[in-house]
Each structure stands twice: as structure tokens, then as C-alpha cells.
Amino acid sequence: MVGALRGLRARPAIRFDDVYRGLLMGAAAVVFFIVVLIAFESFLGARLSMKTIGWGFLTSTEWDPVFDRYGALPYVVGTLATSFLALFFAVPLGVGSAIFLAELSSQRMGEIVSFVMELLAAIPSIVFGIWGFFILAPFLRTTVEPWIVAHLGFIPLFSGAPFGIGILNAGIILGIMVVPTIVSISREVLLATPKSLREASLALGATQAESIGVALSAAKPGILGAVILALGRALGETMAVTMVIGNTNRLPTSILDPGATMASVIANEFTEATGPIYLSALIQIALVLFAVTIVMNALARLLVYWVTGGRRDTAGAA
């Protein structure tokens, strides 16, 4: 009797576990397969352009659909410049506010502010684009950029004509867009560091700032992970950037210059790309963007590894 019952219970339990395992594995496989498929399809689509243009695609600055000459260097530079400019604005702002919300503010305030931050993340990118175009651009053109040109214009990186539209505007907009990612993840990671760390450092006579430093060093890999996610979003952001970057195919040499990013070029030109090589070159840009994202992620992983010295047990390790 007991044996029969045990048999009845045990068998379905094993089957359920198998199904469960299978479903989850399937889900993981589908996600992996989608990424592989995207890479494969882009590769197929880009083959014609790779064959006709070769490595010049990555080194040439000329993008000319009339004569079928395609070089993506200005767009690679534009993508990296706007993304790192975005991190330049967003990292101090985001990590700073995450420290305040996790360590110094009351828990209630921290929750309210991070709720508002997450609302910021839900705003459609086109809204940021319109704001950048109609509000930020005139402000940059009349106030900020003339000041930059007057005081820093002797440095080539800060010279040029103040249009209000360009790399700087795109960098600021992207910075605002990625701040919520950095704040909410960094705050969670900081909250997850053991209280005992802070208590121990305070007990040893550390100031509040020093004890936050201890918590920060424990949370470093997690915060770096947040920055990597933010960078990923900045690299691929399309609509907002297209509206404020000025869309030229010339290599930008100053943060005031107009430019273009890989994503913005695809958004601009894909619908009306009439020739087969033209279309293939645009798909190759997608492939290059894919590769740049992988390289950036790999570098960031290396950075995390280097910072943690290979430890994996730290709170929130990426």
C-alpha cells in the first residue's frame, strides 16, 4: 500500500521536473538562437557589400550612394563618441544619486525617487528626441555652445560653429536616457552589500564617507555591470539620436560638429535604399554595430574581471 502510493507520487514528479527543465532550456535556446540568427542574417545580407568594398568599409570616410562608395568610419566614430559622451554625463550623475539613495537618504525617499527614475526609463525615446530638438538645441545654440567656443575653442575638440544640433546634443540626450539604468541597478547593488561591512568599518573608526567607500568597492562589479548595460543602450539608441545629431556623413572632429551614428544611418536611409550594394552596405553597418557591441561587452567583462581579480562571490557580480 505504502509502496504503491510512493510509486504514484514519485513518477509524475519526475515527469514534471523533466518538462519544466525542458521548457526552460527551450526558452534559453530560443533566445540564443535569435541572436545567432540575427548575426547570420546580417552576415548574409552584408556579403555583397563585403565582397565589393572589402576592408575599406571600416577605414573609408566616404559614404556616397550615388557612386556606390561606402565607408562607415564616420558612423563608427559618431556612435562611440555619442555613447562615451553619454557615459561621461550619466556615470557621475547616476552613481552619485545611487549612493545618496542607497546610503544617505531615508528608505522611503529612496523608494520614491527610484520609482520616479524608473518612470524616466519608460518615456519613449522619440519624446527625448523632440525635447532635444526643440528645447535643448536652442539652449545649446544660444547659451552653452557659444561659451564653449569662446573659452575652449582653441582646443580642436571644442571648436566649430554652434548649431545646437550635433554630437554634444546627442551625448546629453543619451546621457539622460541611460541615467535610470545606472541609478536603479547601482542602488540595488549597493543595498545588497552586507550591512556588516559598513558596521565593521564604522567600528574601526572610519568616517561615513570612508564606510561608503568600503561598500562601493564591494559593489564595484555590479555598478560596472550597470554601466555596461547603459553603454549598450546608448550604442543602439536610434530615434532620439537621429533627431538631434545633425545627420551628416562627414567625420566629426569636435563635439560641436554634426555627425551620425550607425543606428541613425540605418534608420535614415534603409527605406529608400534602392541599389543592391547600397542596401547591402546598410546591412553591413548593422553587422558592424553588432560587432562593436560584442567588443564593448567583452572589454567591459574583462574590466569587471580585472577589478574583482576574478572573484565571483562579490555582491551583485555581473
Binding site: 550615388v66 545654440r141 537621429t242 545627420n247 541613425s264 535614415n268 534602392t274
Partner: protein
């Protein structure tokens, strides 16, 4: 839903429906002896507001349903090449090489004309600026950099021009508007033709890009000293100051629907030879010189005779009744001379080698 198992009965129902369609279409004096059909098309976004009105009107008149996806001219051409649509639509005609890449011969049917205007932001100027072809090219080649340049001053005697820099604005997305504008620049400047050329997007020597007509309009509106090219309808809606352009006959012409129709009329002889000829720089004395046509792309040999007939009927309708509503939506109607060219070309459409329509 009643299911009818008797095949003969089903046939007779279709017959009744066909007769009904004939009766309704007969009411508007159109030669449409086919039953209501479903046609699919894809392509250009510029004429989409007009096309969707046409398809709606035509559906009410004949029952023929036309589904159109405004995915852009490039997409339309792709779909025609893949053979997934009954017709395509493009703002730029196919060049000879693209024609060769098509699975079957393609005929172009222009539907309406459009003007591309130069809108500028100089708030202190009251009278419209006059521009010669040399000024327009000079600005977009980066040779004319200041508003008080000698060439602009010479064309506008007595006008106090500001000594501020010019910011040329262009479209960043590939577009038929760009195609018309650079066709004009190439027609008036051999230097432009050799260095930059003509396409739906080009490698601009100077300036910044805005996405879509609204992007260019926005940049021009908020940047003092900016000049940009937009479709006539956008300039009207935004109340922009627009430049009057000197045409071949030497007159400075204000862009308008009438002067755009005149541009198509001036090019009618060339269009009769090859309907893809650009209509920029038209010899008509009243023509606004920066104008273009938007096209339907149709297979010369129709695989399905009934559908082919429906398509011919629709194009015929668009040339007559359809033209009447164009101006209400800010598109320049085709002059009678170009309508005749289209009607002549319709006769060369075939199904199974036989002409679909014949001259009455």
C-alpha cells in the same frame, strides 16, 4: 454565413455579383466591365495622402479594393522586383540598370507633380528672396557662405541682406524630395553632376540633415540663417518664406501648384519619348524649375488578365476623376498633355500578349 454546397449555384452568385459591379460602375461612365478586384501596391510615402483618398473614392465607385502600404519608394521597388505586389510606387523613376534587374518589363505612370521649395529663416526680410540657379548650387556646394554674398545681392537689388552665415539644411533620410532637388542641381551645374550626382540620398558637401520634411522644417524654423528644401505643402503649412527661383525663360517664379503643373506641361514632349525624363528646369515660361513627378510602377505584361484590366481602369480613372481632387491635397495636377502620354502608354499593357485596353 450560409454554406453553399452546390457549385453551380455558387458560380451563379459570382455571376450576379459581377453584373452588379458592372451596373454600379456603369453609373460613372467608366469602361469597367470587370467585377470588383483586390489589388495590392506598395511604395512611396510622398503621394500616400492622395493615393489613400483615391483608393477610398475608387472603392466607392467600383468596389475595387486597393491595399497600399506606404513603406517608401525603395521598399516599393523591392516588392515589385520580388513580384509580391500588383504595382509599386516610387518618387524616383528606375534608371536603366534597375529596369534590367526587374523580372519583367516595367512601365512608369506619373500620377501627380510636386514642387520642392527653398524655405529660409531670415526674420528681418519682408520681400521674398530671388535666387538664380547659381545661387542655389553655390549654397549647397558650400561656395556661398554668407547671406550678403555678392551673387545674392546682385539678384536682389535694394534688399538689405544680413551679414550672417548660411546654414544649408538637407534631408537625412533617402527621399523623393531629395531626388527632385538634386536632379535640379545636376541639371543646372555640371560640377554638381560630376562631384555629387543624383540619387534619393547623396553625399552632401555641406550642411546638416533633418529627418523627413518635418525634420528639415524644424531645423529651418529654429535656426536663424538656415535654408532648407521641403515639399511645397510643408512650406505652406509652416508659413515659411520661400525663394522665387529663376527659370530657363529667365522669370523668377513663385512655387505654386499652377507653376508646378506648368513645369510638367513644358516637359510633355520629352515625357512622351521617355516618361522618366526629369521635369526640372522646364522650358515653359511660367514653370517653377524645381519640380518632379511621382510614379506608379506597373508590369507591362500582366499575369492575370482580370486584375490587369482592373489596374488599367484605375490608372485611367486617376488620370481623369482622380486629378480633380489632387489640388485639394496640395499636389499639382498633371497637365492634359501628360495625361495623354499616360493614356497612350496604358494601351501597351498586355495580358497573355494581347493588349488589355484599346483605343475607342
Amino acid at each position: 454565413m450560409i454554406s453553399i454546397r452546390n457549385a453551380g449555384f455558387r458560380k451563379s452568385i459570382i455571376g450576379v455579383m459581377a453584373v452588379a459591379a458592372m451596373v454600379t460602375s456603369g453609373a460613372c461612365a467608366l469602361p469597367a466591365p470587370v467585377a470588383a478586384q483586390n489589388l495590392t501596391g506598395a511604395g512611396a510615402t510622398f503621394p500616400y495622402p492622395l493615393y489613400s483618398k483615391w483608393f477610398d473614392m475608387y472603392h466607392k465607385v467600383t468596389g475595387t479594393q486597393i491595399n497600399y502600404q506606404s513603406i517608401g519608394s525603395g521598399g516599393g521597388i523591392q516588392q515589385v522586383r520580388a513580384g509580391t505586389v500588383d504595382f509599386g510606387a516610387s518618387d524616383a523613376p528606375l534608371n536603366n540598370q534597375r529596369m534590367k534587374e526587374m523580372p519583367r518589363q516595367i512601365l512608369h505612370f506619373p500620377t501627380v507633380a510636386g514642387a520642392v521649395v527653398l524655405a529660409y529663416n531670415l526674420p528681418d526680410l519682408k520681400a521674398p528672396l530671388k535666387m538664380t540657379p547659381q545661387i542655389v548650387t553655390g549654397i549647397y556646394m558650400g561656395k556661398i557662405k554668407m547671406w550678403n554674398d555678392k551673387a545674392i545681392a546682385a539678384a536682389n537689388p535694394g534688399v538689405a541682406l544680413p551679414g550672417s552665415p548660411i546654414l544649408p539644411v538637407h534631408r537625412s533620410d533617402g527621399s523623393g524630395t531629395t531626388y527632385i532637388f538634386v536632379s535640379y542641381l545636376a541639371a543646372v551645374s555640371s560640377e554638381w553632376k560630376e562631384m555629387v550626382g543624383v540619387n534619393t540620398s547623396v553625399s552632401w558637401p555641406v550642411g546638416i540633415g533633418g529627418k523627413g520634411n518635418e525634420g528639415v522644417s524644424g531645423l529651418v524654423r529654429q535656426t536663424p540663417g538656415a535654408i532648407g528644401y521641403v515639399e511645397l505643402a510643408y512650406a505652406k503649412q509652416n508659413n515659411f518664406s520661400v525663394a522665387h527661383i529663376k527659370n530657363v525663360a529667365g522669370n523668377f517664379i513663385e512655387p505654386s501648384l499652377a507653376s508646378t503643373t506648368a513645369a510638367a506641361n513644358g516637359a510633355a514632349v520629352a515625357l512622351a519619348k521617355d516618361v522618366r525624363t526629369p521635369i526640372v528646369n522646364s522650358p515653359d515660361p511660367q514653370a517653377y524649375p524645381i519640380a518632379g513627378l511621382t510614379f506608379l510602377l506597373v508590369y507591362k505584361e500582366q499575369r492575370d488578365a482580370v486584375k490587369g484590366r482592373a489596374l488599367v481602369d484605375f490608372i485611367n480613372w486617376s488620370m481623369t476623376d482622380g486629378q480633380e481632387v489632387a489640388e485639394g491635397l496640395d499636389y499639382a495636377r498633371l497637365p492634359a498633355s501628360v495625361v495623354k502620354v499616360n493614356q497612350a502608354n496604358l494601351l501597351s499593357l498586355t495580358a497573355a500578349g494581347k493588349p488589355i485596353a484599346s483605343r475607342k
